[in-house]
């Protein structure tokens, strides 16, 4: 069964590596959004330190959401998705593989660039470490939840805007606890534990249920 998972994963990553600009576009979208805020609200150190965690999370939410449209779209257009639906392999597993590839290509780069963004906002080392860890736990949740929305809006007119309307409300808990962890780490790093526990719980729940829901959504969209 894992052979299928690795096969899809490898295929999606190879495809993305052939068109590297797509990956970079998401990353630079994230960097640009984060860089816009100091220009808008003023560059005072104190304000930026307070705003930093929230802005980084909101930007990560938007970046991962914008990339979601591509999750199934290409396969839908060239008919690959239809073939996938007909394979005897469990569809949820295929979806999980696609989501994993999506996260490796859009979520992980955000995590990697987060320390750089932390410098723009004068965050101290503890905050940066917390932010990277929180993004590491949080961005997979975004990809997993987003897959449901991407599957539901497959091939619809105005899919992108609609997707944001469906998915952003579900992202809110991740935003609250992800940004909360960074804020709390300013007082004491040990205080962040409940935030990480909750995010870990979200991640496990999403890992189990959202491939199933996304698979069901794909079947609805494709019938």
């Amino acid at each position: 069964m894992w052979r299928v998972f690795l096969c899809i994963l490898g295929r999606d990553i190879t495809l993305a590596m052939r068109r590297r600009t797509d990956v970079l576009t998401t990353l630079f979208f994230f960097v640009i959004v984060v860089s816009l805020f100091p220009l808008g609200v003023g560059t005072e150190k104190q304000i930026l330190r307070i705003l930093g965690p929230g802005v980084v999370w909101v930007a990560a939410l938007l970046a991962s959401m914008l990339a979601l449209e591509r999750l199934f779209a290409a396969d839908y257009e060239d008919g690959t998705l239809e073939q996938m639906l007909m394979t005897p392999q469990p569809l949820a597993l295929l979806v999980l593989a696609k989501v994993t590839a999506h996260w490796l290509l859009t979520g992980l780069p955000l995590v990697a660039i987060a320390p750089l963004v932390g410098m723009q906002y004068h965050l101290d080392d503890t905050a940066v470490v917390t932010m990277v860890l929180a993004l590491l736990v949080g961005t997979p949740i975004l990809s997993l939840l987003g897959a449901i929305g991407a599957a539901l809006t497959l091939g619809l007119r105005g899919g992108g805007i609609l997707l944001s309307l469906l998915i952003l409300p579900l992202y809110i808990p991740v935003l609250v606890y992800g940004a909360g962890a960074v804020t709390v780490s300013a007082i004491d790093f040990a205080d962040t534990q409940p935030y990480f526990s909750l995010m870990g719980a979200f991640l496990l729940l999403a890992l189990i249920f959202s491939p199933l829901a996304a698979a069901a959504a794909l079947r609805i969209s494709m019938e």
Partner: protein, 248 residues
Amino acid sequence: MSIFRYAAPSAFYPLAGRMIPWFAAIAAASILIGLYWGFFQTPAQLGGTNPQKEYYRIIFVHVPAAWMSMWLYLVLAVWSAVGLVFNTRLSFMMARAAAPTGAIFTFLALWTGAFWGRPSWGTYWDWDPRLTSELILFFLYIGYIALHSAIDDARRADRASALLAIVGLVMLPVIFWSINCPDPNQCAALHQRSDLSQMEPNIFWAMMIMTFGFWMYSFAAVFLRVRGIILSREADSAWVRGLVEGKA
């Protein structure tokens, strides 16, 4: 003859038509009684050292609306699940018809809450957990309606938005229990506790009657809307054509 006969839109359509006046009348009567009771038969102020004056009476609209907003989401999700499991057309239509009423009640709860918040908290809006989660509920309703309207094919629209409604159901317990803030030091929980047993009996009953009235109103409104949906969906069927020709 069983009750499942009414799962057919053509059988439910006249039944709903006969029930609407009853639900509407009961709704109007209980809302009137509830408002009268709430405005004239309850104490003029609430609380001990820092009493709430007349403005507390907005809870007679606010709390029932908030309850109905959550209840109707549950109704929406249950009809969606029934539709997905048993593949019944009417279930999806009921879910679709419940959504706008639920969204209206959510908006009403937020709106009245803002007006109550101004005199008592000194602000229209605060990021209290319950306010925030009620706002999320509003977004969920809007998302459901938007997804349903974006898909032209009725069958796909029904099933896709049903799935979305069920996914959104995970937020409902969060909203319901958001009164108990996880960390009391972090959030100044403005909805501190909800304990029906500590309420003044007159206030309690006025609120319950209002809730009942809102509930009956929901029945009437949803049935009215579902009748419209049935007609537009079944426009090509023989019984609808017969209905139109009979009236014309």
